[in-house]
Symmetry: C2
Subunit: 571 residues, 2 copies
């Protein structure tokens, strides 16, 4: 008995000597973060970024299933509040810790320290990022990696585990972008200047008109990200996208990728040469370092779905012992054609639950909400609408408003469950549809099954429909199907995958297409569901679901202090 404990301790010590010293015994993981502005040059161009402990991306949270995460967040911004969302963590029992300003909490004031405390109840690849205004674009994001409990193993094997966040990067501040979006006439920031791979990109500093001293191609902050691999070994790459705008394709020259996880769920493995990934999604892929080991290889990220002027993002797959900055001898892959929807749709359809890890979906649903997205002009502003309602956030968070009976703080009329599908031509620029803005919420009956049909349409520009990745807070949903054109509510449901659908928290709706989701309204709280393109949510492309709020326990006063919840907050 004593001997066995000693052996365990020795094992633990050996574990601690390896790359990540994760104490397998610790169940509460405490992080102390300070949020502030700093000048950063992630793509060689200097701009203000919001950092955590001086870094963007911020520190990774690395934990084990069942652990409690405590993030002690100090807001050291000068005049700006903050809130952080834990993307993919369902917050079961802690809906007030979802970090969504206006929905689940008040923003954290400058000088204040807020304690986020929640359990990571499932293994997988998750994210965190600001969920207030457009602060995510300013650099406030990072990754969460949750491993299995001791003794449990993944249904696939690999030698090393690496996290890579893909992002796009603007040189204008989030403020400048937001003001443009709210201006009459509308001012669009345009395409991003760079794509960042794990926080590193490369802007061409020698372009004419670049302010002197602002751009420095030799700044080590913008040296390409190098993923060093040992020949013969297999790597699990946890890829995530937190782009502000762009849909991406990621590939590694000469190396196929086997997709094994999506948004925390095991995928029936399939092999891709390039992975399409949308903002808010995470994937694990396996790659084997089985190519000529005397050289390095390009990893390349290209924007798809928009005819973007942004150059491809580049990183280096570095075969040890080559120098990590040694350029591969080849031209980087150019990636797929931006406007070719078919392979993107095919990949979406290919993602199914892994046998042995299937969560069977309910075979029927209690309510179907069809959500047509359109671009509209409302009072002169360009807005996105769902069923002709453009969402805006209230200043009293819904969760507190429901629990504390402050129902006057937002519109009580819920948005509609459908649109005039008989008369709406999704392939044309919508006629003036009398869209309105509202902060009304959908109220879902607790423990019911809800279907959402995301219906895409034409934007305000002829022959243009965009890709929108929708993210649901507080839940995973089953992805029942994708289609092109207008959803047929009689025939399309017959084609739903009710056998082995993947569960996800973020899913794209492809141009001129539809996507069908199903989820159980079984997590008491108030949850945002929105397009993960930050400017689209800002322009109204989102909704809020309330479910079982009467079952939510006493709210902590730390989430209060704004709107009509002032005075509800004790220090």
């Amino acid at each position: 008995m004593v001997e066995s404990i000693q052996k365990s301790l020795i094992k633990l010590s050996i574990l601690c000597l390896l790359a990540f010293c994760v104490s397998v015994e610790a169940k509460v993981r405490h992080y102390k973060w300070e949020v502030k502005y700093e000048f950063k040059s992630p793509d060689c161009y200097r701009k203000l970024a919001i950092t955590i402990n001086g870094r963007t991306p911020g520190p990774s949270i690395i934990a084990q299933q069942g652990d409690t995460i405590v993030v002690e967040l100090k807001n050291s911004l000068l005049t700006e509040n903050v809130a952080i969302h834990w993307h993919g963590i369902r917050q079961i029992g802690t809906p007030w810790m979802d970090g969504t300003e206006g929905v689940t909490q008040c923003p954290i004031l400058p000088g204040d320290t807020f304690f986020y405390k929640f359990v990571v109840d499932r293994p997988g690849t998750y994210l965190y990022h600001a969920h207030y205004g457009m602060q995510r674009e300013a650099g406030l994001y990072g990754s969460i990696r949750v491993s299995l409990p001791d003794g449990e193993t993944e249904p696939f094997s690999y030698d090393y585990d690496r996290s890579i966040i893909l992002n796009d990067w603007y040189h204008l501040s989030a403020y400048e972008q937001a003001v443009g979006l709210s201006s009459i006439p509308f001012v669009w920031v345009g395409e991003p200047q760079s794509i960042l791979i794990q926080g590193r990109g490369r802007f061409n500093c020698s372009r004419p008109g670049i302010g002197a001293g602002l751009c420095n191609a030799t700044n080590p902050e913008c040296a390409p990200y190098a993923l060093t691999v040992v020949p013969g070994k297999t790597y699990r790459l946890r890829l995530a996208s937190l782009t502000a705008l762009s849909a991406l394709s990621f590939e590694i020259e000469g190396h196929n990728m086997t997709v094994v996880e999506a948004d925390g769920h095991y995928v029936e493995p399939f092999v891709v040469q390039n992975l399409f990934i949308y903002s808010g999604e995470t994937y694990s892929v396996l790659i084997k370092a089985d190519q000529n080991p005397t050289r390095n290889y390009w990893a390349s990220t290209k924007i798809v779905s928009r005819n973007s002027t942004t150059p491809n993002g580049l990183a280096i797959l570095n075969y040890y012992p080559n120098h990590p900055r040694r350029s591969p001898p080849t031209i980087p892959p150019i990636g797929p054609h931006w406007n070719d929807i078919a392979p993107r749709l095919a990949q979406s359809v290919a993602i199914k639950a892994r046998p042995g890890f299937i969560h069977p979906p309910p075979q029927t649903s209690d309510r179907v909400i069809v959500m047509l997205n359109t671009q509209n002009r409302i009072n002169g502003n360009v807005r996105w609408s769902i069923n002709n309602v453009s969402f805006n956030l209230p200043h009293t968070p819904y969760l507190i408003a429901y629990k504390h009976n402050l129902l006057h703080t937002f519109e009580q009329r819920p948005p509609p469950d459908n649109y005039d599908s008989a008369n709406h031509d999704i392939f044309s620029v919508a006629k003036n549809v009398n869209a309105t803005t509202s902060n009304g919420a959908y109220r879902l009956k607790f423990n019911t099954t809800v279907d959402i049909i995301l219906q895409n349409a034409n934007t305000m520009n002829p022959n243009n429909s965009e890709t929108h990745p929708w993210h649901l807070h507080g839940h995973d949903f089953w992805v029942l199907g994708y289609g092109t054109g207008k959803f047929d509510k009689v025939n399309d449901p017959k084609k739903y995958n009710l056998v082995d659908p993947i569960m996800k928290n973020t899913v794209p709706v492809h141009p001129y297409g539809w996507t069908a989701l199903r989820f159980r309204a079984d997590n008491p709280g108030v949850w945002a569901f929105h397009c993960h393109i930050e400017s689209h949510f800002y322009m109204g492309m989102g909704v809020v679901f309330e479910e079982g709020v009467e079952r939510v326990g006493k709210l902590p006063t730390s989430i209060m202090g704004c709107g009509d919840t002032r005075g509800h907050h004790s220090p």
Copy 2:
């Protein structure tokens, strides 16, 4: 009787037909303001500015002595809080309405509406501006003009009354500037790009390296400010400075100016060719349109006290009926030499109370606080210190902390009343002096007389001492004297002007000089006293006075909600 009322009504109507229709009967003046970011090009260069109702400078407050001002302030910034200070208004009986974040109130959250309500109890020329972070520099400011009660007249005559705010303008955001000031190594924004006269300047858009589309010399927003005058008439110009950094000299080609008011007090009139004016000061000058009326004249503003690269600001004195944009046929005045302190000191000394309007000062004081200002490096940061204490604001406002017994929220040890004057050489770069940061406050015995000696010194650069305009909240002070070199506490007080000193709320301390002030600690509350250069206050150049706080009435909960005052705020 009826006839007399009718006559009065006719008189009132005639009054209303004239330029400013001010209802002489109204005693409460209600303003509804919305604060938000907008793109503005005050000097032809487009940048984000904080506006009020779409304008920077914001709307003028025009009132009569005794009126109650109500400003219903809606914060429509996206993620940023706000607070507005009413500069020169003593807030007698309403110390919670001073608008100083961290001292008298919590900041106003996005989406919130705050009601500022206070009485303008004295006629004169005042200002308002943001008092949170460095938002003033972002454009959030305007003027307050308080006229005499009906039937009372000024001791000087004029035909028309005009307000002009002078300002300097940076192209970098206040955020970028603040982050630089807090960085290690220190990053200084440098000299302002432009001087604005009533919100209009002119940047040279054809300079190389100016981003395309950012600068447009033909934008009407940056057409020079034109002050149209009718030949033969006399104009009262209410000049104010709200520069972020710069000391200014203002002149109008060919027109002498008679100084008649300073900071709301009548001045024994004196004539100047150019007026030196420091950030936070206001002056009224009279000019007569008595020159050749067939042409226009330049008004020119030059930076003094710093060897600035900023071009002079230019406006046009437009003789009606010449076209207001017609350039004067002359070269604009170049202004005084930047480094010539003597005329600036001479003007300071020349400002005395007007006979018949003298407020006799107390002949003795109960306490003398000498305040040496030095530039120091503290924990690697460049800071300004007073008696080796560099000020930082707490996040729980002092006023609430004192009244609600939250004394743990700030340092209880007050800063020192003096410095080691025997051993400190004010003409040299200070040796390492172990300066510290603190948010301790001076507690003044109620109804006592306090002298402040502002003692200037060398900065961290050899042979350099700057001009600092110090502004006192909640009071006017008597300006007892100015001197050069180190204040001699035995002999210099003998030279104080105790006969007819001017009362002011803002006063400069000249390079390597001292300035002596006296005030009565008779306004219950907590009051900031600080250098009005926004970056200097941010870097620690300020103090706080508490006096008679036990006499302050019940605080409105609307000022609460931050730091340890959360939960004290009811909606």
